[in-house]
Symmetry: C2
Subunit: 319 residues, 2 copies
């Protein structure tokens, strides 16, 4: 492949690094590498590991452009990482400059929520939409949105942060320090905590969930709650659907502010089954104004959405 046709995509996921190459305009990876980070690491370790992965993929070739997904806040221009919420050593790093020097090619960056939105918009279920809100629900809740083919980053790169919109000001504490955010109510670890507390408080309830957890309440995860709910466990069903409703209320509020054509939901928790989707959609419909459409569909790119968004961002540099 000619060097002016090679796109490099990098995804810093907090606990996981991914790098991939693709031909310009293509829809299949040429090559993809993953690396799971050790428990104690820092930004310097991540950058060195990622660059080694990338050079291995490139095999001496120079990419035409590089796109970068970063799992934390970056500036609106997509040049500077503000920080990582997970590991030290990412404070105010002008990472695009570093990548351009390392690979000899223009680079562009966005946070994982925004770039995941772009990935679904260009390569996934957002095709044909003018505006798209993207939400990923797993250990946290990320989000981003795209309008007229471009990431809508806002004045400070913070637009689309639906995970930290307030659903209930008296609700549980969120990792961000606020109370009752969508993330604090709807992400897997948080509703697993709710299920654990209820199992402790209600010794006769949740038999299936207890069995799935091998009798140890501490083993209960979001995934086990979803599985128990699918098998008809009443306690698990209540907890799961309350989490889905909280996300649905957050989506309804977003619909009244942004009114996008389509909402795309991905991440591990989005695999919780039809009852979760029905509760989510009903709450969003009940919260949104009647004139606003409510079209909520599953994401199609899975964990690769940020990487594909990075490809779209890199390709936009070449236009």
């Amino acid at each position: 492949m000619a060097q002016d046709q090679l796109i490099l995509a990098l995804d810093y996921g907090g606990t996981k690094l991914m790098a991939a190459t693709v031909g310009r305009g293509a829809r299949q990876w040429l090559a993809l590498e993953r690396s799971v980070s050790p428990p104690q690491h820092d930004g310097d370790y991540e950058r060195k590991t990622m660059h080694a992965l990338a050079h291995k993929l490139l095999g001496g070739a120079r990419p035409a452009a590089v796109g970068i997904s970063f799992g934390g806040p970056v500036d609106a221009g997509g040049r500077l990482v503000f920080l990582s919420h997970h590991i030290p050593g990412w404070e105010n790093i002008p990472y695009c400059d570093q990548v351009e020097a390392e690979f000899g090619a223009p680079a562009a960056m966005a946070n994982d929520g925004n770039i995941g939105a772009l990935g679904e918009y260009v390569f996934g279920v957002g095709a044909g939409c003018r505006s798209l809100l993207y939400i990923t629900v797993s250990t946290g809740v990320g989000g981003g949105w795209v309008f007229d083919g471009k990431i809508f980053a806002g004045a400070d790169g913070m637009a689309g942060e639906i995970g930290h919109t307030t659903v209930d000001p008296r609700g549980p504490l969120c990792v961000c320090g606020r109370h009752g955010c969508v993330e604090a109510l709807a992400c897997g670890p948080k509703f697993a905590e709710v299920a654990q507390a209820r199992l402790r408080a209600e010794p006769g309830a949740g038999a299936k969930l207890r069995a799935l957890a091998g009798g140890d309440i501490a083993n209960v995860t979001g995934q086990l709650v979803a599985q128990a709910a699918a098998e008809g466990d009443a306690l698990a069903t209540e907890v799961l659907l309350e989490a889905a409703r909280s996300l649905g209320i957050g989506i309804g509020t977003a619909l009244n502010l942004i009114n996008p054509e389509r909402v795309v939901v991905g991440g591990g928790v989005s695999k919780s089954g039809p009852a979760w989707w029905a509760a989510l959609r009903a709450a969003a419909r009940a919260t949104a104004l009647p004139q606003a459409r409510v079209e909520i569909v599953p994401a199609s790119l899975g964990d690769d959405a940020p990487l594909w968004g990075a490809v779209a961002l890199a390709q936009a540099l070449l236009k």
Copy 2:
């Protein structure tokens, strides 16, 4: 003035009609007419009255373009009124077509929140901003937002409806049928109701507010609550600041989704004094993510914001 330089602006406010003319590019009205509607009226009455006002202002001249502000939902293209929440006879009216036939000039329309945002953006405190969220708090809570000089109406014309974003799903019933919307917690009549309920429940409290209401709790309005708070009444202060905090939480959520450069707040309730503004700003700052700016300023155009937005919309037709 040459006919190709005359702009006609119309504002349907629910209980009040306003029409004005202005020279293209000018910042002072040539003439302005108001009409307060009688209690029992309908869309047909409003349209006839408005057109009579406008013809009086025009004195036989033909405008170059017409801008229309409508106090209710209109389609994203700004051609069709869906309905009025206040009066019958506005259901699915292709009002832009009617205005173009009536005045022989191109017309453009938007709902009052969106067009008020455009008014402040072009003629008020939004000058120099790339993105602006506008909120008007009086008997209801309206809103709209502008990005890159244009109203961001969303897929169905519903974007910017901050009044109907959820602050507390267990909160009081809103006119829209949902619970705990910003409007249900922060608009004048709603916090007046809270004050009335507290005065009934706490016979020893709120002496100043009782006095301002002439001893009749039913006379308590949002304005009187603000006045009593300014005079140091503890009950009134608590009620007023709780309403301000609710609006601030709604603004903080909007900041995390839209991340605009500036937020502009107008309407009668925004004249509730420095303590109201301080509580509003503190709640917005506490709700927004730390990287998102929180710049909240008073509106500058008062009740004329929608009319000036109509001028901006009409002028954009002539470019």
